[in-house]
Symmetry: D2
């Protein structure tokens, strides 16, 4: 049960409600939201709570929440959230495309990628400075130098930048130069990192854990939002199944499912999901048609020379053609979707 | 390796090639195709075979086949197959929609469904007369009576009919009244049934086994085609994963993947894949955008009263709205897709 | 709800109970069992039924059944079933080991295998005459000739024989020479085959479908038992997961889980589960320790020359050593397990 | 390829080998080991390397490594590693049992559990002070207070203590009071944490990620070992599959598979794997029979009152009975396994 407080409820009104809840042997939890504070009553939706709190000073309403996640639920906020990333809007009808290389490899590579995706119509630049790698002996990114190159690419192209952060200790450093912080699939249930990015004051791109259910994923988002950071964009990137012909299995049904359960925007990553360049275009169009709020695509000026994920990266001409096709498709969709 | 024979190669030319292959200690297999006979040489792609057979009388060429499936492979036939079902074409740019109830329940129910989906623009009527059920105590369909009702619905609406066949013994009966035979997900590796429908002289709708890889699925299609029945339409209907929010996980990436590996058409079943009515529309649009060759949708005149699969069935107005949206999307696709 | 009738209940008493159930708007189903008839009342466990049927003539009791399967449930029969296969007992404390080659390849191969496994202590001989193969071009077994060779091996060694049956049409033929019929993993939900073997009058070895839940598997067993054949032995053979280092993932927890849910015996197949010879011994010992009612092991006199499944087959000395280790382990188990 | 240096190789000999490798355009990496330094040559096993390095001063041999992991591979160290945890040995024939509550809840609860498992024969006490929880609103452990209680329980019982660490920042704090640090399933690919525990100077219990392949898991261990900490014990705790009757599917075949691929010890956690108390005993016995190097079992003095994981926790009498059964089984195993 969620008890919604008036936006100008006083501290003593809040404390009074909490005391009432405790007196009935339930456990209250304060949930500070964008517009108002709510008080969650965990583990119950008993109508009796509704009856004794509605009428208390400062209380607007008490609503049932049928899911373990609260503040990210549609039941908590019926209207879609819009997340602003350096002027680019995720959610609410736009369809921004995030593009760039898997890893920042060099100044030349990054700038070539940035110019190319900008010219093709991308809205945000992606690029990994700190790379999580399965093997300790693999290339792990340029680190702080990569962040500087991303900042330079932003200055030159005007594109906001999203890059991955791997540890709570690095959040401040990465947040100082990036416009959006990515939490990767292997860290989707790294709860300390989720709380750290919840405190970072920057929008978050939260990838689905490769074996996480939709419910677990939304609870990970709840970790971020419960720290007072409502700017979370979810990213479906494929789940782990028995099929070996693709790197993962892209679960496009997550798009309408998340939209029914949550007010947060959701984008799709067809590059990591499929692992194969020749499957990216079809899956990007499918994601748009399914109602996704954007895409994130790996683009490299010379994929055959990429230090990581080359087989799934598009080159600039392929990406340019994809953007053209996306625009054509968007024009036909019932909703007013705009692809830049 | 596939040795392609001239379309007018004589029996003695064929036997001569076979004898040559045997003399080199390889195992030849005759693969009769639509236009020509080929001779498969199993288990090898050795260039030496190419060298000794090219030049023999009646031989056009010898081509490498990198996959265990042969006649369903793109390498065997580069152009897309078109499968004709009572005048409706699957493959080659059309986008037929198959619709109807999970099970034929009564004359009234079936005719109401048939009229409704016909009016909305469906091309083929579906309906189960013989139903495979996990529990022996569940409703298993009307059987032969269901087949008669389907025939009546065809007569009235003009829609060709597809219905499931469960055993080799029933193939003749079902083939006598249906225009297309469906092999269901639980029978996707029932090899005796695959061979029986391969002999039936009717087009086949082959659902993917719920835990079959793409390669296994194409090998099941190969069973049918290797009996001389080239009219196979594949149907992606979701695979089994750890996610519990949907009945299965719809693997839309199977669409471009199958198109790259095979010349057979592939349609998508968003009803069984998701198990939830409110997810069907998004997944149908996504399948069209991904390049699918059609859809199969569960439609019931009164889903809340359905004897099976009610929660995933659309009613007539929802299906009519979906067909409208599909037409709008198809018009915007780069390829010339026509939704009736 | 299950209404248990007295073992000498008359037909009119039974009809009277059925009429009472119908009058209360529930659907009764007759479930003939080994010792008595029961009447299942589907879809409800309402106490009201208990109240109105207990007291009717011929009724012993009415018991709640919490699962969709009925006659295979522990709630239906609290004591473990014992299935007799040509004098060999599965269930109730024995630990028979079924062994032999994947496929019957020749008289020499089969007799060498049969003599070897007999000498090592195996209780039943396995060998495939009809082989289900993913590819239509693979070796599919010797067919009827294979059945004759199995019969000869039985005559010589005295070992009862289990072999797979693939279609309803072949059940009579296979049942004429085999002591036990195997339903394979790809046919675990081939309901027509399940009913045909339910009518065959021979014990059945029912493999778990590679993506079937325990509940689905027990419902497949219910198909057989509901035809009046109570002699079903379940076989766990690995399920399909994302792990690629093993052919499947052996779910040994299925052993105690099945024992808690059902009275049927369950054996384990570590050969197909792992796909690797060097893992078979450990998994066989683990299955015994977990309480399995037996094993089925692939043994070939010359695994490197096997026509199928060579990498997972033991040779005779490896199998002999395994039997020795099993005997040592069995002696230490709390329950009185006897390995021959 | 691994180039093994003599244990007294000089720095200039090492530098000389590295220079040679670079001159042939390969990338060398120094791998400091327990007894000697090795030089890994990544991405190749070319015999040419063997030829030019063998013979250089200080080089013993150059060996092929066929797997992406190096220092944890059997090929790198043929003999089994033994990891010492406060005097308790994991690996090399012993079979220590780690037991205790999921979470430290109170002084009374922890001491009751510690005394009970000690009396029953457990070798190490487990208990969570920092708990990773799917929901931000769930109980997350007593934190530093929990660590103090664990230290008190150790003092009283003499049992070494293992507890989970969640973030790199907490490693120093937890390492100050625990004898062994646990990395949980959700952090199995939290590479920053893996490196931090690699630097901690304490033995590590590394749980398998719930969707990690064996290869990924061993690469996670490689992260720790490559920091100079060879004391890693692997823990199989079930993987995520489609089966819903158990919390996870325990992959016991991981035990012999890890033993064939790596020299590290591996223990099994049947509590988290099954999620059900009544399945724990069978799976514990199976793990011992399969060759596991120990167990980790959840034990709570009053499971029905547990704040987390109650349904899978044994009470003291059940655990005592299990230890008795394990001893009986161990006595019968071919290898010299000793259960205290």
């Amino acid at each position: 049960m969620l008890i919604l407080m008036n936006h100008d409820a006083t501290r003593s009104q809040i404390d009074n409600v909490i005391a009432h809840v405790r007196r009935h042997d339930f456990e209250p939890i304060e949930l500070p939201g964008r517009e108002r504070l709510a008080i969650g009553v965990l583990g119950t939706n008993a109508p009796s709570i509704h009856d004794f709190v509605v009428g208390l000073p400062g209380v607007i309403d008490a609503v049932r929440v049928s899911k373990p996640f609260k503040q990210v639920a549609r039941e908590w906020q019926p209207t879609a959230s819009v997340v602003d990333v350096g002027g680019v809007r995720f959610g609410g009808g736009a369809f921004p495309v995030v593009a760039g290389p898997c890893a920042v490899e060099s100044r030349e590579q990054l700038l070539a990628a940035a110019r190319g995706v900008k010219a093709a119509g991308a809205s945000v630049l992606r690029g990994g400075a700190f790379k999580p790698r399965t093997s300790p002996y693999a290339f792990r990114g340029l680190g702080a130098e990569g962040l500087e190159l991303l900042a330079e690419a932003r200055t030159e192209t005007g594109l906001p930048v999203v890059t991955e952060v791997l540890t709570p200790a690095e959040v401040t450093l990465v947040a100082a130069s990036a416009d959006m912080l990515q939490v990767g699939t292997r860290n989707a249930q790294n709860f300390a990192l989720l709380e750290a990015v919840g405190d970072a004051g920057k929008p978050i791109l939260l990838k689905r854990g490769m074996s996480n259910t939709i419910e677990e994923w939304l609870l990970s988002a709840e970790y971020i939002v419960s720290r007072g950071n409502p700017n979370v964009v979810l990213c479906e990137r494929g789940i782990r199944t028995f099929e070996t012909a693709t790197r993962n299995t892209l679960d496009i049904s997550a798009v309408p499912l998340v939209h029914s359960l949550s007010h947060l925007p959701i984008v799709v990553d067809p590059s990591h999901a499929t692992g194969h360049r020749h499957l990216v275009r079809s899956m990007a169009l499918a994601a748009l048609a399914a109602g996704a709020d954007g895409l994130i695509i790996e683009v490299h000026p010379d994929p055959d020379e990429a230090m990581s994920d080359g087989p799934q990266s598009l080159d600039i001409p392929m990406f340019t053609a994809l953007m053209h096709d996306l625009r054509g498709l968007a024009a036909a969709l019932p909703r007013a979707t705009v692809v830049p």
